[in-house]
C-alpha cells in the first residue's frame, strides 16, 4: 500500500472509532425509510421493534448475556451513573463504595459527587495502582466491608490499556454480598467477555468505541439484580430507561457487535503484533522513552509511551502535520493544566507524564502505517528536545 500525506493515520481508537462501512449500511435504512416508533401499534413502527430485538440479541451474544439483561442507553457515562446510583438506592443503608484511582472521569467524578446526588454522605475507597498500573488484590479484599454497597472497577484502562482482574474481583465481591459494576467500555470487542461465567452484576459499554456511532451505549444488568432507573419516563426498555430509543444507532451497535466477534481473533493477533512492532520500534529508536502500563496484562491495541523532557501537545501537533492521530496525557491536552490522573496514580514522574502519547489501534490499521509512524516519530521527538531546557543529550 502506498501512503499519501493526505491520508489520515488514525491511531486514536480509544477516543473513538470509525463507523464500520457494514455498520453504516445496516443503520441507514432506519434513518431514511423506517422511521417508525418501535412502541407504536402499527406494523410500520412495530417492524422497527423487531429490528431492535435483533440488535439486543447481537449485543447479548458478544458478551455472553441474555437479551433481557441488555438495556440501551445514550453512552457509557449514562450506563456508569445508572449502575452506581441504582446500587446506592437499592441499599440506602450502605454508605461505602470501592473503586480505583485510575477510573475514567465517568466514574471518578460521579464518585466525587455522590453526596450531592444521593443526599447522603458516602465513604469512597479508591484502590491504589502500582507502577505498572496494576491493583493489589490484598488491599481490595481489606477494603470490602459490610457497609459496601457497590464495587466499580474498570475492565481495562482507557489511557494505558491495563486490564484488571475483573473475574476474580467480582467473585470476591459476590462472596461478601456486594454488587459489582465494571466499566468495560474499552474492553468490549477487544477481549473475549462471557458474563455467564462471571459474577458481574452491572457492565457498561459504549457503541462508538467498537465501530458503531456515538450516542449509544449499553448497561448490562444481571437477571435478578435489583434495579432503580436513572431516567424514568415511558415504558421503553421495560421501564429501565425512559426515552424513545435511538433506533438507528442501536441497530448499528448490534451489527458492530457481530463484527467485533468476527474480528476478535484479528484484534488479538494481527493488531497486537502491529502494536508491539510500533511500541518496540519507538522504545528502541527514541532514547529516554518508556512504556506506561503492564506489558502483558493489557489490551492488544493500546500503547502508552512517555518521551521524557518534551510536552505532549507539542508532539501531537507535529504528528498532526503528518496526519497521524493520537492522544496525550499531558496537562495542556487535558484542559485541566495537570497531567493525567492515571499516570500520576502510577507514579510516572513529571518528566515523563507531560510527554506521554497514547497510540490506540484498530483492525483498520496497516503495517505500512506503523512503518510510517516509526519513521517520523524519532525526528519529531529529537527536534522538540533540542528546544527543551531540560534536555541534556542522550
Amino acid at each position: 500500500m502506498e501512503l499519501h500525506n493526505d491520508a489520515v493515520i488514525y491511531m486514536d481508537n480509544n477516543a473513538t472509532t470509525r463507523i464500520a462501512p457494514e455498520v453504516l449500511e445496516t443503520m441507514m435504512p432506519f434513518l431514511a425509510d423506517y422511521y417508525g416508533n418501535p412502541s407504536s401499534m402499527h406494523t410500520f413502527g412495530g417492524q422497527v421493534g423487531h429490528a431492535l430485538a435483533k440488535a439486543r440479541d447481537q449485543v447479548a451474544n458478544l458478551i455472553g448475556a441474555e437479551p433481557e439483561e441488555i438495556t440501551f442507553t445514550s453512552c457509557g457515562t449514562e450506563s456508569d451513573s445508572t449502575a452506581i446510583l441504582s446500587a446506592l438506592q437499592t441499599y440506602p443503608e450502605k454508605r461505602h463504595i470501592v473503586t480505583t484511582r485510575v477510573e475514567h472521569p465517568a466514574v471518578k467524578n460521579l464518585c466525587e459527587n455522590l453526596d450531592r446526588l444521593t443526599g447522603h454522605k458516602h465513604r469512597v475507597t479508591r484502590l491504589k495502582v502500582d507502577a505498572d498500573g496494576m491493583l493489589d488484590l490484598g488491599e481490595y479484599e481489606e477494603a470490602l466491608t459490610d457497609d459496601t454497597a457497590i464495587v466499580s472497577v474498570m475492565w481495562a484502562n482507557n489511557e494505558t490499556g491495563v486490564i484488571f482482574p475483573v473475574a476474580e474481583m467480582a467473585k470476591m465481591a459476590k462472596e461478601r454480598g456486594i454488587l459489582f459494576h465494571t466499566d468495560a467500555v474499552q474492553a468490549v470487542g477487544k477481549v473475549p467477555i462471557n458474563l455467564k461465567d462471571l459474577e458481574v452484576d452491572f457492565l457498561s459499554l459504549s457503541g462508538h468505541k467498537l465501530h458503531a456511532p456515538k450516542g449509544v451505549g449499553v448497561l448490562y444488568v444481571r437477571r435478578g439484580t435489583m434495579f432503580v432507573p436513572f431516567l424514568t419516563g415511558g415504558h421503553q426498555e421495560k421501564g429501565r430507561r425512559g426515552g424513545t430509543e435511538n433506533v438507528a444507532s442501536i441497530i448499528a451497535l448490534g451489527k458492530a457487535c457481530d463484527l467485533a466477534a468476527e474480528r476478535m481473533d484479528d484484534e488479538n493477533t494481527r493488531v497486537r503484533a502491529l502494536r508491539d512492532k510500533l511500541e518496540e520500534g519507538l522504545l528502541a529508536a527514541v532514547p529516554r522513552s518508556m512504556r506506561n502500563g503492564h506489558q502483558t496484562e493489557r489490551l492488544p491495541n493500546t500503547s502508552n509511551i512517555s518521551f521524557e523532557f518534551v510536552e505532549g501537545e507539542a508532539i501531537l501537533l507535529h504528528m498532526n502535520r503528518y496526519n497521524i492521530c493520537a492522544s496525550s496525557g499531558s496537562a495542556c491536552t487535558s484542559g485541566s493544566l495537570e497531567p493525567s490522573h492515571v499516570l500520576r496514580a502510577m507514579g510516572v514522574p513529571f518528566t515523563a507524564a507531560h510527554g506521554s502519547i497514547r497510540f490506540s489501534l484498530s483492525s483498520y490499521n496497516t503495517e505500512a502505517e506503523i512503518d510510517f509512524v516509526l519513521a517520523k516519530m524519532p525526528g519529531i521527538i529529537e527536534s522538540l528536545r533540542q528546544m527543551s531546557p531540560f534536555w541534556k543529550g542522550n
Binding site: 501537545e313 501537533l317 528546544m387 531540560f390
Partner: protein, 277 residues
C-alpha cells in the same frame, strides 16, 4: 483541539532563536517541569543597554514555544527600558492572539524577560515574595493581583487562563474570587495580609492536617516505633504514608481509618477521606 492563529502555528513549527546565547549577560528561568511548561531566556546586552541577541529554550505546548519565539524576535534591538515595558498582551498580539486558555504562555514569556533583565541588573524580583495562593502551580497573590490589573481580568476563569492559578485541584477558587473582588474594587493594598476566607483552601487544610498529625497522632504512633507522613491533599482525599513499625503492621488499615481519619474528621473537616499512599 486548540484554535491557533497561523502565526502561532508558524512560530511553533519554525521557531526563531532556539538555543542559548553564549556568555549571556542576563538569564531568565521560569516555570518548571512539574508545571508542564518552562522557559529559559538568555540575552546579550551591549554597553548602551541595547539587547543585541536573545535566545530561548522552552519545554511546553505549541503556544509556549510560539510565545518564546515571538518574544525573542520582539526584544532584539530594543533597549532594556523598552523591553521592560513589554506586556504579555504584546506577546499575544504579536502572534495574532492566543486562545484564552493559553494566555499563561504569554505571561511566562513576560516573566522570563523580566527575570532576565533583573538578572542583568543584579536585582531580585518582588513577585515571588507574595503569599502562595495556588498550591498546585505556586502562584502568589502578588502575581494574581498584577495579572488582574494589567489584563483587566474579571473572572476566576480568566485568572486561571492568565496565571494558571486555580487550574489544578481548583480548591483555591474561593480565594481567587475574593482577591478578584477586592482588587477590582481597589480596596486591597498590595502587601496587606489577606483576611481569613470562609471556606478552607487546600493550603489551609494541609497546614491544619499537619498540625493535627504532629500534635495528636504522631506521639501515639511513635510510642510504637512508627510514624506518619502527609503525602498529598486532593479535595477531601488526604493521602498519607505510614512509616517505621506502622508500615508493616497488619492493622495499618485500621490505624488509618479508625484513628487517623477519625481524628482528622474531628479536628479538621468532617468530610475528609484518608487514604494510604
Amino acid at each position: 483541539m486548540w484554535e491557533y492563529t497561523d502565526l502561532v502555528k508558524e512560530h511553533f513549527l519554525n521557531p526563531r532563536n532556539v538555543g542559548e546565547v553564549e556568555q549571556a549577560d542576563g538569564t531568565g528561568d521560569v516555570g518548571s517541569l512539574a508545571c508542564g511548561d518552562a522557559l529559559k531566556l538568555t540575552i546579550k546586552v551591549d554597553d548602551k543597554g541595547i539587547i543585541t541577541d536573545a535566545k530561548f529554550k522552552t519545554f511546553g505546548c505549541a503556544s509556549a514555544i510560539a510565545s518564546s519565539s515571538a518574544l525573542t524576535e520582539m526584544v532584539k534591538g530594543m533597549s532594556l527600558d523598552e523591553a521592560s515595558k513589554i506586556t504579555n498582551e504584546d506577546i499575544a498580539d504579536y502572534l495574532g492572539g492566543l486562545p484564552k486558555e493559553k494566555m499563561h504562555c504569554s505571561v511566562m514569556g513576560r516573566e522570563a524577560l523580566e527575570a532576565a533583565i533583573a538578572d542583568y541588573r543584579g536585582l531580585t524580583l518582588p513577585m515571588a515574595e507574595g503569599e502562595i495562593v495556588c498550591e498546585c502551580f505556586g502562584v502568589t497573590d502578588l502575581e494574581i493581583i498584577r495579572a488582574i490589573n494589567e489584563s483587566n481580568l474579571r473572572s476566576v476563569e480568566e485568572i486561571t487562563n492568565f496565571t494558571k492559578a486555580g487550574g489544578g485541584c481548583g480548591k483555591c477558587e474561593d480565594k481567587l474570587r475574593e482577591i478578584l473582588q477586592r482588587t477590582v474594587e481597589g480596596k486591597l493594598e498590595w502587601i496587606k495580609p489577606m483576611e481569613k476566607p470562609k471556606k478552607m483552601t487546600t493550603l489551609q487544610k494541609i497546614k491544619k492536617i499537619e498540625d493535627v498529625l504532629e500534635r495528636e497522632i504522631r506521639p501515639g504512633l511513635r510510642k510504637d516505633g512508627g510514624d506518619i507522613e502527609l503525602i498529598d491533599v486532593d479535595g477531601d482525599f488526604v493521602s498519607v504514608s505510614l512509616r517505621g513499625a506502622c508500615k508493616s503492621c497488619a492493622k495499618s488499615q485500621t490505624t488509618i481509618k479508625e484513628y487517623v481519619e477519625k481524628k482528622l474528621r474531628e479536628l479538621v473537616l468532617d468530610t475528609l477521606i484518608v487514604e494510604e499512599n
